[in-house]
């Protein structure tokens, strides 16, 4: 173990035990009795607001009642019917801004029914049984290419397979799962859950996972020629530039790559982390990078966000989580320069004010020690494959159809909806339904 006070970037700032504790499950799973007590709090609302708030429209009161009635497996079926990645969503959904925000008990007493944890309870019980609960319809003879094995691609592939279509699931990386595997904070998906879930989803059969990269060894023309339909769920692979002086210095990194490395690390103690870390951004990625930097043993971690707290896209819950881990939140500051002699040593931030013509620097600056600077200022589309694009995303209609015939898209790479796992699942599923409709016409 390295001395935690070691300057610069160093591995093993904490003991193995401390690291194991830091990266344990953020919310422990319910014991059965806890689940029963939590389930009893549900009022079984009429036309429940939580259902509307869930992007995949899970029948939440029904599944909770099934838990109450002693059948968590049945509850899981209710969840998975709508959202085949219900297990991951139970772990990563910002429920505080989705179903639980809409819960009438949130309005009444500030304590919603813990829908996410109940959902995890149900799906865990079912998945622990091992078997895949769905069967495929008779083979339709139709073949569909799904590009990208993230939440959108997996949900789409599963629904298509269920309808009897043969799916080839192309993935550029060595593992399926997308950001579930490479992006989500480690403490939200412990015990290799993302990989186990992807495996389990594909357990329905009829899905062939293939290595392939659109824009490299695959082209959209080639795919449309070979398949009856194509779905693109390629996510947002690129990262925005900081546009600050000294951005090229060693120590300035993409938050997403940092997290991907962390998620794939066999031994957390092997990951180098700065003593002084500054994360630029205000979304979930910024929070996850900052919190995990802190958990790896960084002494000082600061999130520097250019607007006010209210404007942060990370929820108040995520902000408080960061604060509780010892991350400092700074608002109304933007990066001006990264100073150092070769490697980063300091970051210079400029205070901002919003005026009639948008956000501008006030001229006043502040310098923070920074061995490592993580950029978490948004991801970008890496390939549009020649499709119409709006706001940096592939243009799709409500059913996920792109500008090109027989090509659909969904998830982060497609227009509409928030960049969330659950939204990607909903869009993948709905596109599959539309593809099925078109293919069976």
């Amino acid at each position: 173990m390295t001395d935690p006070m070691t300057p610069g970037i160093a591995a093993a700032r904490l003991s193995k035990e401390a690291l194991a504790e830091n990266f344990a499950d953020l919310h422990a799973p319910y014991a059965p009795h806890e689940a029963a007590v939590a389930a009893d709090r549900c009022y079984f609302c009429h036309d429940a607001p939580c259902i509307t708030a869930c992007p995949t429209s899970i029948d939440i009161p029904l599944f909770i009642r099934q838990i109450q009635a002693g059948q968590p497996e049945g509850a899981a079926r209710t969840i998975l019917d709508q959202n085949i990645l219900g297990g991951m969503c139970a772990r990563v959904c910002p429920t505080e801004t989705l179903c639980e925000e809409a819960c009438v008990r949130e309005a009444a007493e500030g304590k919603p029914v813990e829908i996410g944890r109940l959902q995890r309870h149900a799906t865990d019980v079912l998945m622990a049984k091992g078997d895949h609960p769905y069967t495929r319809a008779a083979d339709t003879g139709k073949r569909v290419a799904v590009v990208g094995a993230g939440p959108a691609g997996l949900a789409c592939a599963h629904r298509l397979a269920m309808k009897g279509h043969a799916v080839t699931l192309y993935e550029a990386r060595s593992k399926p799962g997308g950001l579930n595997e490479f992006g989500i904070a480690a403490y939200k998906s412990v015990d290799d859950f993302a990989a186990r879930e992807a495996e389990w989803v594909m357990g329905i059969g009829g899905i062939t996972l293939a290595q392939g990269m659109l824009g490299d060894d695959l082209t959209l023309d080639g795919l449309t020629a070979e398949f009856d339909a194509v779905f693109l769920g390629v996510g947002l692979g690129g990262v925005n530039a900081l546009r600050a002086e000294g951005e090229e210095r060693a120590g300035v990194e993409d938050a997403v790559s940092f997290i991907a490395d962390l998620r794939q690390a066999g031994d957390l103690a092997s990951l180098p982390i700065g003593r002084n870390v500054v994360v630029i951004g205000g979304g979930m990625t910024a929070v996850d990078a900052a919190v995990q930097a802190k958990l790896l043993g960084a002494q000082n971690v600061t999130i520097a966000y250019r607007r006010a707290r209210e404007d942060m896209s990370a929820s108040r819950y995520e902000q408080d989580l960061a604060a509780s881990k010892g991350v400092r939140l700074m608002f109304n500051v933007m990066p001006k320069a990264v100073h150092g002699n070769g490697a980063a040593v300091e970051i210079e931030l400029e205070y901002t004010a919003s005026g009639p013509d948008g956000l501008r620097g006030t001229g006043e600056t502040i310098r923070l020690p920074a061995d490592q600077v993580f950029k978490a200022i948004g991801q970008t589309l890496t390939t549009d494959a020649g499709l119409a694009v709006e706001g940096g995303k592939i243009t799709v209609d409500a059913s996920g159809k792109s500008s090109m015939d027989r090509v659909w898209a969904g998830g982060d790479c497609a227009s509409g909806g928030d960049d969330l796992t659950v939204t990607a699942v909903a869009e993948g599923r709905d596109a599959a339904e539309d593809i099925h409709r078109v293919l069976s016409a």
Partner: protein
């Protein structure tokens, strides 16, 4: 501060909370602990005749019904009367009574329906110095199959006969404990009175099967793959017990006969309700078995606080006060018209009132796009279901329409006069109001 001491049939106790005849009162050790905890009295676990005692099953005796968070709402048991030697019990009773002269000790008895049997045991009980006896005519399982317990309690003639023997061979108060496993509770109560009983106590447990093991297809508690009905008690039985108590209290034939109320008493409020319906005291079993003897402290503190708030100086100030207001349906005022009112400030928009009224009642609640729920007076029959299903206490209430107001449902003016079914024009046997 209110005086909560009780005088039931001349038997004094520092409070009206007695432990019912059951496991909590099975032996000296428990009863001493109960008195130390503050219980006003006990009815000793039922004694049987001299000789080899009964034997209990050696598997589970209880089954249960739960509410949220495994809160025990109903308990079912297949236990018999005491399975300990008669003389052991009598010696213990005598010792405890001597040490706790200010507490009530009643001896529960169940012996065969023969005069000799009663004649034999009563002097032995008299000798303990206990304050009275309770005749267990209620036990619904095991003993009834031997012609005792509920088997006697279901035949009013037997009740009268045995009660008479007891009054003949025993000098102190005789309480007759009634079984609820009967169609008309007034009959056994009247028989007890006719036999000379000083009081009745009720209810004993209700025939029940609490659950069925669906793997082994056997009622629970299951003994080697077989189950039997047991006796149901606990909070779930309180409404049934209170109705039976009220029937006896307001029946002209038994009105005034002292009653010891039993069945689901768990807090001071339950006790106050039983007493308002005419009980001189209450007996408790399941609540003590669930939470231990300490619960009596809440009962004592709660009852005296409530009495202070209401200005009741002693128990007699409120015992029976609700009896005159317990009537038959036909005497309820049909001119009393209410409407449900939903407080928009308190509403949490769960929509349960809507589902209940729309699906199962009178389509009298409207739901708007933004989940505002409002009562449609023209449809509301004032059934109270919305009030009962609303999770927020006090959010939906019933507003009484003042005389002169128009009932939007019937279009009629609300009348000030009382009018009931007996005089209603729709009643074929209505008698014209004078």
């Amino acid at each position: 501060m209110a005086d909560i001491s009780a005088n039931f049939l001349g038997i004094k106790s520092p409070n009206p909370f007695w432990l019912a005849s059951a496991p909590p009162t099975d032996k000296e050790y428990n009863v001493r602990r109960a008195f130390e905890a503050g219980w006003g009295g006990v009815v000793w676990k039922t004694l049987g005749s001299e000789g080899p005692p009964v034997v209990n099953v050696n598997g589970p005796r209880y089954g249960a019904i739960y509410g949220a968070d495994r809160r025990l709402l109903g308990l079912n048991n297949i236990e018999l009367i005491t399975d300990r030697d008669l003389y052991t019990n009598l010696d213990e009773i005598k010792r405890v009574k001597a040490d706790y002269p200010d507490r009530a000790i009643i001896v529960s008895i169940m012996v065969p329906c023969e005069e000799e049997a009663w004649k034999a045991i009563l002097p032995l009980v008299e000798d303990t110095g206990a304050d009275g006896i309770e005749l267990n005519f209620g036990c619904p399982h095991g003993m009834s199959e031997r012609g005792m317990g509920a088997a006697v309690g279901q035949v009013p003639e037997y009740i009268e006969m045995v009660t008479r023997w007891c009054k003949q061979y025993y000098s102190k108060p005789v309480i007759v404990k009634l079984t609820p496993n009967i169609t008309d509770i007034r009959k056994p109560a009247a028989a007890a009175k006719a036999g000379g009983a000083d009081a009745v106590s009720l209810i004993n447990t209700i025939n029940s099967i609490t659950s069925v093991d669906l793997d082994n297809m056997c009622p629970e508690p299951s003994i080697d793959g077989k189950g039997t009905h047991g006796g149901y008690c606990g909070p779930a039985v309180k409404p049934i017990a209170m109705s039976m108590v009220s029937e006896i209290a307001r029946n002209p034939e038994t009105n005034g006969l002292p009653i010891s109320g039993i069945g689901g008493v768990t807090t001071w409020r339950d006790a106050a309700e039983f007493m308002a319906l005419g009980c001189g005291n209450v007996q408790v079993c399941t609540a003590a078995m669930t939470y231990g003897f300490k619960i009596v402290q809440e009962m004592i503190a709660g009852l005296s606080q409530w009495m202070d708030e209401k200005g009741h100086a002693s128990l007699d100030d409120f015992i029976g006060m609700a009896v005159p207001n317990t009537t038959d349906w036909q005497y309820l005022n049909l001119n009393h018209i209410t409407k449900a009112r939903i407080s928009q400030d308190d509403c949490i928009k769960c929509g349960r009132c809507y589902a209940a009224c729309e699906d199962t009642s009178h389509q009298a609640i409207s739901m708007s796009e933004d989940r505002t729920f409002e009562v449609i007076d023209a449809e509301c029959v004032a059934c109270n279901l919305c009030v009962n299903v609303c999770p927020v206490e006090g959010c939906i209430t019933m507003e009484t329409l003042a005389p002169g107001a128009i009932d939007a449902r019937t279009g009629k003016t609300v009348e000030a006069d009382y009018a009931n079914w007996t005089t209603h024009p729709n009643n074929p046997s209505a008698t014209a109001a004078e």
